[in-house]
Amino acid sequence: MVRYLVQAWLVLLLALGFGAALAAVQSRLGPRIEQNKRDETYDQVPRLVAGAVKERTRELKLKIGGEERAVYKAFDGAGRHVGWVIKAAGQGFADVIELLIGLDRRGETITGLYVLENKETPALGNKIVEPAFRGRFRGKPTARPLKVTKKPPRADNEILAISGATVSSESVTRIVNAAVAEFKRALPAGGGH
């Protein structure tokens, strides 16, 4: 036993030293990394809801689909409630896609879409992150579920698919439909008052 310890003193000493150094690094950088994660959502709020101010955004817990989930209530500079940002996730072509969806005060119109996380095929499916695709959701009414088409849309619930990435386009649309429907059910009658 003692022989092993004598042989391994360098390993033990290094492990202690590195451990202490890494603890110091973590305590310096940890809060910043946490902040990056939170900012990723909060930074998007003004882009997802017109007029919203990042600093005034409030995180609420709503009972959605049987479980407590965080939603973000967006306010403008004068403190007026202007809309909501909700998080949604679902299976994509490759892995789980995580979205942020901007909605107006009553959840009747989609005001913006942002992709937080995706592992879709580079240069095909991962074009879902580009504004050209995300913009197709802006202004869509939520009264009817959205549908993906391969031709230029004619009805106001149609979303033009990314060519070569129909599955990814459909996944995003399905996630949006499900999340918006659940959120509207959870929203107290009369919308955000």
């Binding site: 950088l29 580079p122 240069a123």
Partner: protein
């Protein structure tokens, strides 16, 4: 002890081309294939490898007199893991988007053979100056190799370089379907062709100077 082994300058130069970690030693193939879809990711990975290799080589060189043969690999791995964790946290704190793009490949530097190989071949036998020169030379060689592959793949696959649009993006995307180059097969094809090219040049040089 002092006289055997290459000098720091030799170590530095060898790492760049004559003993290039990717093209000559075929080490570190995992990041070479995985993060060369674009220049930004490739250069961030190269920077992280430089930091880890420099840190690990210096540390190992300084304690080389204390190393026991049967525990040395354990010491190398421990040292490398510590520096990799610092690099990973740093990228997550200051380059959040890039940290998401590189995903597991920064933590995976721990098992990058280039680093353990340099600890074994150079740092555990030579002084800190030679070890540092070796680390910088090998990292430059690694960066050069990644840049060559990433340039081919990004220019052909995405029509950009360092994210800058080269003006034929739409053509590359839609007409020629070179999107393959941005996907994993593109990595294998590019690496294979460039590796073949490097070998061909080396053998051509040998033919010209048979004694070398």
């Amino acid at each position: 002890m002092a006289k055997d082994g290459p000098t720091p300058l030799e170590r530095f130069i060898q790492g760049i081309l004559p003993e290039n970690p990717v093209y000559r030693q075929l080490l570190g193939m995992c990041p070479t294939l995985a993060v060369t879809g674009n220049m930004k990711a490739a250069m961030t990975m190269s920077g992280a490898v430089l930091f880890v290799l420099l840190g690990a080589n210096l540390m190992v060189s300084l304690i080389r007199g204390l190393l026991k043969p049967h525990l040395r690999i354990l010491v190398f791995t421990l040292t490398i893991a510590a520096f990799v964790t610092v690099a990973d946290k740093f990228i997550a704190a200051y380059m959040w988007e890039m940290s998401k793009e590189l995903g597991p490949y920064v933590p995976l530097i721990i098992v990058n053979c280039i680093i353990i190989c340099r600890c074994e071949v150079c740092a555990s036998k030579q002084g800190p100056v030679a070890a540092a020169a070796d680390a910088v030379g090998q990292s430059l060689g690694f960066a050069l190799a990644l840049a060559s592959i990433a340039t081919v793949r990004e220019v052909l696959g995405s029509g950009t370089w360092f994210g800058i649009d080269l003006g034929w993006r739409a053509a590359a995307y839609d007409n020629y379907k070179l999107v393959l180059m941005a996907l994993p097969p593109g990595a294998f094809i590019t690496l294979g062709l460039l590796l073949g090219g490097a070998n061909w040049m080396a053998s051509a040089r040998r033919r010209r100077r048979p004694q070398a």
